[in-house]
Symmetry: C2
């Protein structure tokens, strides 16, 4: 069930809605494996993205309207910001082929179940998904077929989801190199709040703090940006709409982790103010164990820059 | 004055006090350029570090006591945590050769002037310095000769410092590939608080927050660590003593930037709580300009992982 039979066509017609960084990477990966899928249809409301997709030869057919792309599709994957899911799922619903599998690639997994599931026909199998892959770049030209190789692709099917639909999606993503895992949507959102959402918010904040500095100081901050700040600017260079939607749609988990973070930061701030060196040293020593764990876990995946799509 | 005459021996005898990541990198760089210096003496109180330095052939003589290393030296560079400067400078002072140049590599520059200058004889020329280079690794075995190539090395000589002493140190560091700049110590500490110290404190904090999570959640945070968190764990894997001393010795600037940061974070937290998408999107868009500036500035330096030593 977790291994692709060589030459097997897992889905005859696949439709990708949205052809940005993740959508175009998925398109490239699916087309690379001969026979893995039949027809690939993509849609994007943006004319510039469609022109670029055409130029790059990313799909068999390119559509403006999602409804045209999904007609007769056996698999539909939403690759648009989470804030668009409600409207797109409503627009798509009447056009979905009975028995089709529908998924997404959003970094939050409870919100799609809330926003999409009620709009979909009972004959469609909804399997929310999230590839933990991506770079800080945006747009169809930034994608590449190898993006998902060795990276986790998390599926969060609600209870009662058709097991065969989940299995087929798993086979498809494994065929393009991903490590597929299933988990509960709420648990997913909590893990990602810690590993990705709050770190991004913090990075955006400190870079924003620098934006507000007086001109000459800001120039020297950029000029002498050391490892810490430079890493943060990379993170804070990501797609603004995508991240706005992530924070609006994972509010509860983000606020909870943020609360813990600010309590911890306040304690450190106090230790600095009162010169409590031991408190600082203790924390700085404890965090090394987590680093070791990450290095060990990382051996399973290629060492490339990434953040969640 | 800023170009090394080929073959010129800039300092006859050089002593490095402390042979960790930065000290050993400096030793390697100085020995690589034939004739740049004469004798290289190093000292370290740690027997393990001395044994490793001997094995690696990092210096001409290796001493336990700093006083033995600095005797007759024309240049002395402290490569130990900032918290040791007061005691070491007191111990060294009686042994310094008249006319010698003494410097350091600490990431804070006002504190050395406060802690060292009063202990040094009038015949020594104190030129505080800070190479913006380093990795998250520690110890003599982690150093490498190319560490300073294309990286800034900031000098913060107090008013009235001997110009020739500053010029010679500049020539030495330029000869090993560094870009040398002079600036005011307080200004340095403010810039570094933004580019390095506060980002490190934030990274330590969020990784520490993860350490306190329940066991299974913590395991999955490590396993599925995405770009944001993984970058932070790298930063938070740095030397605990060095960083403790940085925060204790750049308290004022760190607390000021931290105050601005927490105000900004509180505003974003509020925007998330009340679903104010436009506020989030506006900030996430503004931070992109800083990212572009860093990318442009970065063209001057090699793209390697770094943080301040």
């Amino acid at each position: 069930m977790t291994e692709q039979t060589s030459g097997e066509t897992i889905f005859e017609r696949v439709a990708l809605v949205g052809i940005g960084h993740i959508g175009s990477s998925l398109a490239r990966a699916l087309k690379r494996e001969a026979g893995l899928i039949g027809h690939l249809a993509i849609s994007d409301l943006d004319a510039g993205a469609r022109a670029k997709a055409l130029e790059l030869g990313l799909a068999d057919t390119i559509h403006e309207e999602p409804a045209d792309a999904v007609a007769d599709a056996d698999l539909v994957v939403l690759c648009t910001p989470i804030g668009t899911y409600r409207a797109i799922s409503k627009a798509l619903a009447p056009h979905l082929k009975p028995g089709c599998v529908i998924s997404d690639v959003g970094s939050v997994k409870r919100a799609p179940i809330r926003d999409m599931a009620p709009n979909l026909p009972d004959t469609a199998h909804f399997v929310p998904g999230h590839p933990i892959a991506g770079t800080e770049h945006s747009g169809p030209e930034s994608g590449f077929a190898e993006l998902f190789e060795g990276r986790y692709w998390l599926l969060t099917p609600p209870e009662g989801t058709d097991a065969d639909a989940v299995a087929r999606l798993r086979r498809l993503y494994e065929a393009i190199g991903a490590l597929v895992e299933e988990m509960d949507a709420d648990y997913h959102d909590k893990v990602l709040a810690v590993t990705s959402h709050v770190p991004h918010l913090i990075a955006y904040t400190i870079v924003g703090t620098a934006v507000d500095l007086e001109g000459h100081l800001q120039n020297d901050v950029i000029r002498f940006s050391a490892g810490g700040f430079r890493d943060f600017t990379r993170i804070a260079g990501s797609n603004p709409i995508m991240w706005r939607d992530i924070f609006l749609n994972n509010r509860e988990a983000v606020l909870e982790i943020l609360q813990r973070f600010t309590e911890d930061l306040t304690a450190l701030q106090r230790a600095i103010r009162w010169g409590e060196g031991q408190t600082l040293q203790d924390l700085f020593t404890r965090t090394r164990a987590i680093r070791r764990g990450v290095i060990e876990a990382r051996q399973e995946v290629p060492p490339s820059a990434d953040n969640p799509g």
